[in-house]
Amino acid sequence: MTKKSYIQAITDALDIMLKEDPKTLIFGEDVGKNGGVFRTTQGLQEKYGEDRVFDTPLAESGIMGLAIGLGLTGWRPIPEIQFMGFTFEAVDSIAGQMARMRFRFNGKKTSPITIRTPYGGGTHTAEMHSDNLENFFTGIPGLRVVMPSNPYDAKGLLISSIENNDPVLFLENLKLYRSVKDDIPDEKYTVPLDKANVVQEGNDITIVAYGAQVQEAQKAAEELAKDNISCEVIDLRTVSPIDTETIFKSIEKTHKVVIVQEAQKMAGVGAQVASAIAEDAILSLDAPVGRVAAPDSVYPFAQAEEVWIPRKAEIVEKVKEIINY
């Protein structure tokens, strides 16, 4: 066990997979000598050579095309898109090509690719660097979207993603990169894909969250405990597909739910969770579904960010509203 940050946990996973599987390749803008703009791939080129870890020309669509072609010829690519906002440049490659490979060729050709990219607000970046775009990518058949909320999960989920034979969009939260540290095992371990995690048990209400909002939800639960409100906090871990079974099981016990996301409210992960509950578990509830999300504007410029992003206070308020319904 070593105390590691979220970013160190990711580097650790990449190091293990480069070592274990000679077919893995890491590439992207500035990932080689520079070790990535956040230093996520620091030291990996030095350790494994330029054949395994290399810089690309500045073109996201080209990076994804490279990944697809390498996947077709026996390699296991782990490309990086420098910021999630830049994935817009590569939407055809991801949604139109990569995610359809297994379907098109009836499994005879596949895309065993893990795309890593940082996202998320609260670090006052330039425009297009902080957007939570998971809502945009969760509706693509053939693509998994994974969003770890802590260092332990980041390492285990990244290893599972790389070992998976289908494409995974692995989203790394910018604010969590250096703000959280956990004791994590030094050796290889996996955290299963497609499974949510009950991070805190409780009896009065279920809070469903993912990514950086899991930490906010836990802080809110701590504060609500002072008012004798016992919260069960669920971390989705994988947001496409969503593990509804774990959610249903929880609300059968608590009869109340608040769904939290940092992304805008429209047509996304929270909406999907709410709709799944409405369809298959509505009778478990004795109050309306509560939702905490960002408002439906374009992601704000840096100055307005802290007002726009939902935080602990909004979660506490919403939980009280649902509890007192």
Partner: protein, 366 residues
């Protein structure tokens, strides 16, 4: 101000308008332009080139016939493009990786897919993509194949294979940013990739001159640091010879090449209701028909006593019969099941998919 300009942009622009030399082995009057290259072919080889073009023309005619009978799905007519399509693919080896576009079905078949599989692809059945040929299914998104070609070429290089990746797009395809990205990546990493631009003059209805101010599409490769060459796309000997030379150059580790072939599609953009008379005149079209690749090859072979009309008619009949057999086989396939489609979305199905698979299996068992 009458002061002398620091730079003469007009002169620079003028320099950009120099047309590249177009490579020909045999011209439209069947006159041999390059004796050395021509003499390098045996009589058997010359006959083989002709046979391939006759095969492609017969495939086009018979398939369009099936299309008019309502027996095909989406299919892009290929008449007029026999020299560029057959010439380039004949220069490739089976271990090479083909990334075709939708007008490149004839090359896909030459590279190892069956006609039946091509018909399944056209009709929209997954069996059409399960060919053993080292190739992707025809790409619909313009530019995507160029990107993926860079990736496949990098994979082949890393594997240490004696193989290249080769791909096709059209004149319109060179306007797509992804086409440039693909060539640029291949250039940056010096990858074994061959980019072929089949310039047939029109992207559906939009003429070549509206696509770009570049006077030749070969110029598109210059910015990526890739050698490029323009070839008479109605001259199969030129198309083959240039593609073969490109393959050798690429395999020697020299990085990618781009070839622009000047050709013409005689028919519509696709079988889905395009009417070329809306954007193309007969007068404009006639010179291309006069340059037909089969006419000049037929003349050369006939002069050498290697070919006769009877022989050609017999071949056409033989080929067309084989296509009729192929479509019969295509007819016999079981329709796809939705439950099978759901199963091939992921290797490990998601919980939602598992439920949907069960639902459709029940529906489809009735």
């Amino acid at each position: 101000m009458a002061s002398k300009s620091i730079v003469d942009f007009a002169k620079i622009k003028e320099d950009l308008s120099d047309l590249p030399k177009q490579i020909q082995v045999v011209d439209e009057n069947a006159k041999i332009i390059d004796q050395d290259v021509f003499k390098s072919f045996s009589d058997d080889q010359l006959v083989e080139f002709m046979k391939k073009m006759v095969w492609e023309r017969a495939l086009h005619e018979q398939t369009m016939n099936f299309s008019r009978q309502g027996r095909m799905g989406f299919y892009a007519p290929t008449a007029g493009e026999e020299a560029t399509e057959m010439g380039t693919v004949m220069a490739m080896e089976k271990q090479d990786y083909l990334l075709p576009a939708y007008r490149d079905i004839p090359q896909l078949i030459q590279h190892g897919a069956t006609v039946t599989e091509a018909y399944w692809w056209s009709r929209g059945h997954v069996r059409g993509n399960e060919f053993s040929a080292r190739a992707l299914m025809p790409q619909i998104i313009i530019g995507a194949a160029y990107l993926e070609t860079a990736g496949v070429a990098m994979g082949l290089k890393k594997n240490g294979e004696d193989a290249i990746a080769f791909t096709y797009t059209g004149d319109g395809g060179t306007s797509q940013g992804d086409s440039y990205e693909g060539m640029n990546f291949a250039g940056a990493y010096q990858l074994p990739a061959l980019f072929i631009v089949q310039n047939n003059g029109y992207a559906i209805s939009t003429p070549r001159k509206k696509q770009t101010a570049a006077v030749a599409l070969t110029q598109k490769a210059i910015a990526a640091g890739i050698p490029s060459v323009q070839v008479d796309g109605m001259d199969i000997l030129a198309c083959y010879s240039v593609a073969k030379a490109a393959r050798e150059y690429i395999l020697a580790g020299n990085g990618p090449v781009m070839i622009e072939t000047l050709t013409n599609r005689y028919g519509a953009h696709s079988s889905a209701g395009d009417d070329p008379s809306r954007y193309r005149t007969k007068e404009e079209q006639q010179p291309w028909l006069d340059r037909d690749p089969l006419i000049r090859m037929r003349k050369i072979l006939t002069d050498k006593n290697l070919w006769s009309q009877e022989q050609e008619d017999k071949l056409v009949e033989e080929y067309k019969n084989s296509f009729k057999e192929a479509i019969k086989e295509a007819d016999a396939v079981e329709p796809e099941k939705v439950s099978d489609m759901l199963k091939r979305t992921f290797e490990v199905p998601t919980p939602e998919l598992k439920a949907e698979i069960a639902e459709f299996e029940e529906k489809e068992s009735k």
